[in-house]
Symmetry: C2
Subunit: 145 residues, 2 copies
DNA sequence: TTTTTCTGTAACCTAAAATGTTACAGATTG
DNA sequence: CAATCTGTAACATTTTAGGTTACAGAAAAA
């Protein structure tokens, strides 16, 4: 599979949208992400369904933020994009009744659950405002695209 | 992509091999993993290259453990199977010079690094002997396949 | 030495999931 | 009505684990 870059892309584009402050079309956002408008609408659609952005059709339409960067955490975006767990353990299902397989799976699942808890904790305490701050600090004033 | 079940499968099969105590052919191991011998040789080959098991060709050949379960951690098996990091952050490479993209990627990478440290710590302190103990405790005496 | 039984690999095919792409339908503004 | 958006369907593409077939080579057994 291709690696999932949706979270990174959405963080990226949300910060840009907030810094620009207005409404953006899928076409313009696609340029920010070096992709095409359909991919943008697909992915931003999930954020809209979770109250992070809103969209308007028709002439003059486009996408805008529903909240400020301070009110959006990385975890909010993650949850909008993926329903279930963040990390999966990659267990085996070769002999579901085998106690050795079950023990192996249980150990891996438990370890991944602990790692995910750590990840989730960081995601929950990192706002997009902080990303914007890092970007401005490192990239100087040129923060557009 | 199909999810990577190699680690779970190798933990599973190594515990079986140790409990059985002798030498096993790819064919028999394939039955434990509900797959075919070529997949087994491919995957066990990586463990052999890391000193976890050893193989012998020819009639009467097969695979056997090079260490006891106490001397193999989950991290050892993980490292034999995958060279680099365990968790990857799924960053974006749409505009590598964009400071916002870089800040987004940096935040994700840092978070994943913290989660991976946690995961690695657990892997490093979990031996296969412990998995065997869990299996025997939960599955009763029937620990074969 | 010939047969049998193993591993080691090459060379494919398949599956699954994100991403890319084309083509429209529908909505909204001018 | 014309122009400009979003919303979706319907594919094609890419990547990687896994499955499969087919042999070559090694080693014990006959």
């Amino acid at each position: 599979m291709k690696s999932d870059g949706r979270l990174a892309r959405m963080l990226h584009v949300l910060v840009h949208m907030a810094l620009l402050g207005g409404k953006e079309t899928s076409e313009r956002i696609a340029q920010m992400l070096n992709t095409n408008p359909v991919v943008v609408r697909r992915t931003l659609g999930a954020l809209r369904d979770n109250g992070i952005v809103e969209s308007e059709g028709g002439r003059g339409g486009g996408w805008k933020m529903s909240k400020t960067l301070d009110d959006i955490t990385v975890l909010d975006v993650q949850r909008a994009l993926h329903k279930g767990t963040i990390l999966s353990a990659g267990v085996s299902h070769d002999h579901p009744s085998c106690p050795v397989e079950r023990a192996s799976n249980a150990v891996l699942e438990s370890a991944h659950a602990a790692a995910e808890a750590k990840l989730r904790e960081i995601y929950a305490t990192t706002t997009l405002a902080e990303i914007a701050r890092i970007a401005v600090a490192s990239g100087g004033e040129q923060a557009a695209n």
